[in-house]
Amino acid sequence: MPDPKDCRFAKTHEWVFLKDGVAVVGVSDHAQHEISDVVFVDVPKAGRKAAQGEAVAVVESVKAAFDIYAPVAGEVSEANPALAADPAIVNQSPMDKGWFFKLKDVDAAQVAGLMSFAEYEEFLKTAH
């Protein structure tokens, strides 16, 4: 499980954990709490290229669907297969088992340009 302090965060509430050139992406604990009970997650297929900020996934809680964005540009190398069978893991484990997809060919500078955990926490205070 990545420590939130080792992750970077987008204003659209996705987190990124960069390791060995691969960016693991999920939604923050704050996001899963607001979205509430997740009943479905549509993740992108491996091979899809995404621009930074492009809507690439959809999360549905009861009666509401939310766009999820690529926090950095890259190519999807893997999607979390566990989400199809058990979408509720997004609520139970947003920073670990509930990850959405992995991106390769990412620009480390783009990742560094996202918010740190401390900055994200501050952002949540001011954005509400």
Partner: protein, 238 residues
């Protein structure tokens, strides 16, 4: 008073309505609420089936089975919405959409409640009593929207579901697609439209100005209709 838009368009089929709603979600002016009442293509008798729409995550096989069970296999091809929720049979419902600012990620059940509270206020202003369903959600998801009321649905004094809807949030905006059964309140569709328009104006403190969709929205809607809502790739994707 803020400015709102009451978008007017001629009759469309289900794919056309879904496409225009998504185009309005993507292109409406920042911070301006947009209300649109559907006119259905091919609407003859008021209770004729004009279309079937279903939630973005629903499986097509279950949807088709529900259509067959209800209409014996004779029905319009179901169209997948961009919003969540269950199957809606558009057979005499008063259908509408609402695009609104949703700048901060927040609990969708509260957004849903606010929209239905607006409709409640609108009906109240016209002397029609309604309420919001407050009992707990039944276990599991309801495959069909009007199987029974769920929390925050608008209901008649007798507890019949009057208005249900579904939401999509994208880039700080929300899209609500609603289906209202006027007969559950003993009113006609025209009065139901008045109530919803009045309620939205009251709740949003907005003056809704009638307007045809702009060329950008129409062009986007045409692309979405052709490349998404009329295709098996979208409607049969799961």
């Amino acid at each position: 008073m803020r400015r709102g838009l009451l978008v007017e368009h001629g009759p469309l089929d289900a794919a056309g309505h879904m496409a225009l709603d998504e185009a309005l979600l993507d292109s409406s002016p920042e911070g301006v609420p947009v209300l649109r009442f559907y006119d259905w293509a091919g609407a003859g008798a008021s209770d004729a089936l004009r279309g079937v729409t279903f939630g973005v995550s629903q499986g097509i096989e279950g949807v088709e089975a529900a259509v067959r069970a209800r209409f014996g296999g004779v029905a319009a091809a179901p169209v997948r919405r961009a919003t969540g929720g269950g199957i809606v049979f558009h057979d005499g419902d008063m259908t509408f959409s609402f695009v609104f600012p949703w700048p901060t990620l927040s609990d969708p059940s509260l957004v849903y409640k606010d929209i239905h509270l607006a409709a409640h206020l609108g009906f109240k202003a016209l002397g029609v009593e309604t309420g919001l369903w407050s009992r707990p959600r039944p276990a599991g998801l309801q495959a069909e929207c009007f199987t029974g009321p769920e929390p925050k649905d608008l209901v008649s004094p007798a507890g019949a579901k009057v208005l249900g809807g579904a939401l999509r949030r994208r880039r700080g905006r929300g899209l609500y697609q609603g289906s209202l059964r006027p007969e559950a309140l003993g009113v006609d569709a025209r009065k139901a439209r008045r109530a919803v328009a009045e309620g939205m104006a009251l709740s949003w403190k907005a003056l809704f100005e009638p307007l045809a969709p702009g060329p950008e929205a129409l062009e986007r809607a045409e692309v979405l209709r052709r490349e998404r809502y009329e295709t098996d790739r979208w409607n049969r994707r799961r």
